[in-house]
């Protein structure tokens, strides 16, 4: 078998191919950041640059001084993402505790009913929600968008799976000592759930930050928009000449998600892996 040397070469070749592909994965982001520092007049100058030509924050200032209420929109995005994340952490954990640890009639059917929710796209719920929001005055309020997602089947499922993999001896001991269920949940189960909750929190925050379809239907005036829909608007306003200003706005819009990812990439990736192996 002459394969040892051959295998080494195959390994090197694979690493080289993977490295080239990795550059292509990152290139659009490099372009976006470098473009945000280009003088607007030179935005379309070729060749494109993938490193900032200079660190001039002029374009960033231009975004803040434009006719689009960028700070207000940014604040809307923060509000929605924070509310949804906190909401899901609370509601999903409570429900997951009941589904994983307590016995009550109809538990498994109720869990099944919640799981079905994974299959319903936003498209099949948006029309009644739009009509309902129009009636109660929640249309064009970012809070309305947040309300839609205060719980999620995915979150309940993720936390329940994680909880089932944890030992329950401590909880049973506490029950013997006469502790109430809420106390057991709060004092014993919750601290054990930290990895699952961080993963759920991060996934939920980025997902909510990125919602487009729902936001576009429910939030029409600029004042009520979230970042993803506003970015499309900004692009229209600042047509060709101001490409670099649009990219400055975009850099600010992706910043929180990129920061979270860089700080907690292990959690994000493990959370995704956790969600994939459900069988």
């Amino acid at each position: 078998m002459h394969t040892k040397a051959a295998k080494r070469w195959v390994d090197r070749l694979i690493i080289a191919v993977m490295a080239i592909l990795a550059v292509f994965m990152v290139l659009p982001f490099a372009w976006l950041f470098s473009m945000s520092f280009r003088a607007p007049g030179e935005a379309y100058k070729m060749p494109p640059s993938f490193l900032p030509p200079s660190l001039n924050f002029r374009n960033y200032a231009a975004v803040l001084h434009s006719s689009v209420p960028f700070l207000r929109i940014y604040w809307n995005s923060i509000q929605v993402a924070v509310l949804v994340t906190l909401g899901q952490l609370i509601t999903c954990t409570l429900a997951a505790f009941a589904f994983a640890r307590l016995k009550f009639p109809g538990r498994d059917s109720l869990f099944f009913v919640m799981l079905i929710g994974l299959m319903f796209p936003a498209q099949v719920t948006i029309i009644p929600i739009y009509l309902g929001f129009a009636k109660v005055g929640l249309l064009n309020h970012p809070i309305g968008l947040a309300l839609m997602y205060l719980t999620s089947s995915f979150g309940v499922f993720l936390v329940r799976q994680f909880m089932r993999s944890q030992p329950r001896a401590l909880e049973e001991a506490a029950l013997m000592d006469g502790a109430g269920y809420f106390k057991i949940f709060y004092r014993i189960s919750l601290p054990q759930l930290r990895p699952a909750l961080s993963a759920l929190g991060i996934i939920t925050f980025t997902q909510t930050w990125n919602y487009y379809f729902q936001a576009r239907v429910l939030l029409e005036p600029q004042q009520s928009m979230t970042l993803p829909i506003a970015m499309d608007l900004l692009r229209g306003y600042m047509a060709s000449g101001n490409l670099s200003v649009v990219m400055a706005a975009m850099s600010m819009a992706v910043l929180p998600v990129i920061l979270i990812f860089l700080l907690a990439q292990k959690l994000v990736i493990e959370g995704v892996a956790m969600s994939g192996i459900k069988h």
């Binding site: 690493i15 659009p28 009644p128 719980t151 192996i277």
Partner: protein, 294 residues
């Protein structure tokens, strides 16, 4: 005594699921049911709504335009799902080999980065990459002496350009879940396989793929549910054009419901989308029962 305890536990159980289940009922279950009902009506809050039976569905399945949009969506889903899953699996296989830890770290970071950035944002960037005259890609093509491509302005290429971007954006997600699945394949199975068969790919198809097939099926279903809903990447890159060449069901639903106020018709389109998802999920359940190792 025992039944009292059971009662206390049951009450606690209902209380714990109450917030989640109430919200789920209001924002998922009830709207789904209402959409289903609306799909059999002509909805007009002013003049009065009335039942139209299957008319909305007939309209969708007999209209040239709606059928083209249905075809576009299925075509996008087919290519995007197979692309995402196959590329994701190949990347996972490549990363599952021995390589220095820092490289593995960097690769996972790079391939996963587009997954977490909004499709709306990356589509705007790709829109400039795909430009005809001022596009970044065509600049390099011309530089290399190749003919420029009408990435988004020709009805023959536009959909494929969107598929390419979709694979670039999402395949890292599938890579991650496949890496996790591959790590679950027992070492002795991999080792025994090396003795038994000569080629890497034969071993892959005979042993590794069947072993991770539950995750592959999950990935296909998950990717299909996402791809059938495709919206912002198309809205931003082509607005559904040229003509209707890239218009997807989601775009059509929004146009019919909120631009034309054809609420009943739009509801029927979303019901059709949901039924396609149910069929795919059902097929996965059947397939995994039949083929997947127990």
């Amino acid at each position: 005594m025992r039944s009292d305890l059971a009662k206390v536990q049951a009450r606690a159980g209902y209380l714990f699921i109450l917030p989640s289940f109430a919200l789920y009922t209001i924002f998922v279950l009830a709207p789904v049911i209402v959409t289903f009902v609306l799909s059999f009506t002509y909805y007009d809050p002013m003049a009065g709504s009335h039942w139209v039976g299957l008319e909305n569905f007939m309209r969708f399945f007999t209209g040239d335009r709606s059928l083209q949009i249905f075809g576009n969506t299925l075509c996008f889903a087919l290519f995007a799902v197979s692309g995402n899953v196959v590329v994701g699996l190949l990347l996972a296989l490549a990363l599952n080999r021995a390589m220095p830890a820092f490289m593995l770290y960097l690769f996972r970071l790079a391939y996963f980065l587009p997954v977490i950035i909004a499709a709306a944002f990356v589509s705007i960037v790709w829109g400039y990459f795909y430009g005809d005259d001022l596009g970044v890609i065509n600049y390099y093509l011309i530089h290399l002496g190749l003919p420029p491509v009408h990435w988004l302005t020709s009805s023959r290429t536009a959909m494929m350009s969107i598929v390419i971007m979709d694979i670039w954006k999402n395949t890292g997600f599938f890579m991650i879940i496949f890496i996790a699945a591959l790590q679950g394949v027992p070492r002795n199975i991999m080792d025994a396989a090396i003795m038994d068969t000569r080629s890497y790919w034969r071993r892959f198809f005979r042993i590794v793929l069947p072993w991770i097939s539950p995750v592959v099926f999950f990935a296909i279903v998950y990717a299909s549910i996402g791809a059938l809903q495709v919206y912002e990447s198309i809205v931003i890159l082509t607005r559904g054009g040229p003509g209707d060449a890239t218009r997807s069901m989601s775009i059509y639903i929004v146009e019919e419901a909120f631009d034309n106020f054809e609420i009943g018709y739009a509801a029927s389109i979303s019901v059709i989308m949901t039924l396609v998802i149910l069929v795919i999920t059902g097929a996965q359940q059947l397939a995994s029962r039949r083929w997947v190792r127990q």
